[in-house]
């Protein structure tokens, strides 16, 4: 190993002594398994009982974030959670990550907001499809309507679509639908 590297290693190791991670932080709750879904009959019954006592905490995630296997998030009651799952597991709306006698933690997925666009004609449809693909937007097709998932601020999408909307190649049909 080159000397320069060893020297750098020592400096780096020395800097760790004063690193912020060394400070004492509030206890976190490790969640490493999906125990089931809130709609499973047995689980639903237990959650129902806990909800009466306000003992069910929820973690609200954007749909895109449910693909992550590791997440550091807080529940609605402020509990610091460290989610670390096997790659074979997938977070979903209603996923139950903790179910104890006196507490449960459940994932709630935010609804995806979609921009629904109707192209003027076949040529405009081809143009719009190419345009959205070129911007790597997440889309779905519903008949003659192209829906674009808003994975960022709505105004960013509207700014990109301004020319299509202004010259009539596309028309905004509907803005919100659960996805």
């Amino acid at each position: 190993m080159p000397k320069a590297r060893l020297s750098f290693n020592r400096r780096a190791a020395a800097s760790l002594a004063s690193a912020p991670h060394a400070r004492k932080l509030p206890a976190m709750l490790r969640l490493t398994q999906i125990l089931g879904n809130a709609t499973d009959p047995d689980i639903a019954e237990r959650l129902h009982a806990l909800e009466h006592d306000g003992r069910v905490e929820s973690i609200t995630l954007d749909a895109a974030d449910t693909a992550r296997k590791r997440l550091r998030v807080a529940t609605d009651k402020g509990t610091d959670c460290a989610i670390a799952l096997a790659r074979s597991e997938s977070l979903a709306n209603g996923a139950v990550l903790l179910l104890e006698e006196d507490r449960a933690v459940v994932v709630r997925m935010r609804e995806t907001v979609w921009l629904a666009l109707s192209p003027r004609d076949l040529a405009a449809a081809l143009d719009l499809g190419y345009f959205c693909g070129n911007l790597h937007w997440r889309v779905r097709f519903e008949g003659s309507v192209l829906k674009v998932a808003l994975d960022g601020p709505r105004e960013s999408y509207m700014a990109r679509l301004a020319q299509h909307l202004a010259d009539g190649r596309a028309r905004l049909v509907d803005e919100r639908e659960g996805g």
Binding site: R5, S15, A19, T32, A67, R70, L71, A84, D151
Partner: protein, 214 residues
Amino acid sequence: MAESAEALVAAAPSAARVGIGGPVGSGKTALIEGLLPLFAARGTSLAIVTNDLVTQEDAERLQRSGLIPPERVVGVEAGACPHTVIREDPTLNIEAADLLEEQLRPLDLILIESGGDNLASTFSLDLVDYWMFVIDVSGGGDIPRKRGPGIVRADLLIVNKSDLAPHVGVDLPLMRKEAEGVRAGRPVLVTNCRTGEGLDRVADHLAHDVLMES
């Protein structure tokens, strides 16, 4: 019995997968070289997947570095636009990460370095749990204002080569402020990967956000 052991392994939390993207020459490989000794000091078991267009250049650089055993580095030749293999179809990278995890278990962290790309580059969350985007001051102080998806959406934005700011006419505090302004509260860190400045904070973020160390 063997099946039971396999089942236990399959159900155990997987190694954290962290993507590193950013323009050509911004310091992605240098960032990894700077992080390796920090994670070694923390006892983090780590492996790396690099992406290059048609070579193994970055993988070979890291394998020769002496900072990590060579068998812990795998190179993927994208053969196409770098973002294709980290976003549209990350299969090659997923397979590479799966292979490393299987061969080197137990692993804590797999760093997946994208080939150099443009500001629109983003990672699929099917591939990584968390991703960083590296820009540098010599690319221009106006880069954050251009609001590329890489800059806006990355979990952690790194502004590298801080030492060059006065030499390329960049107001670094302003560049950082503008970067923070387009990121809706997501963190921005300034580094100099050649000297190691700021890298302990990068390691702290990964330790907190994906390694769940405290």
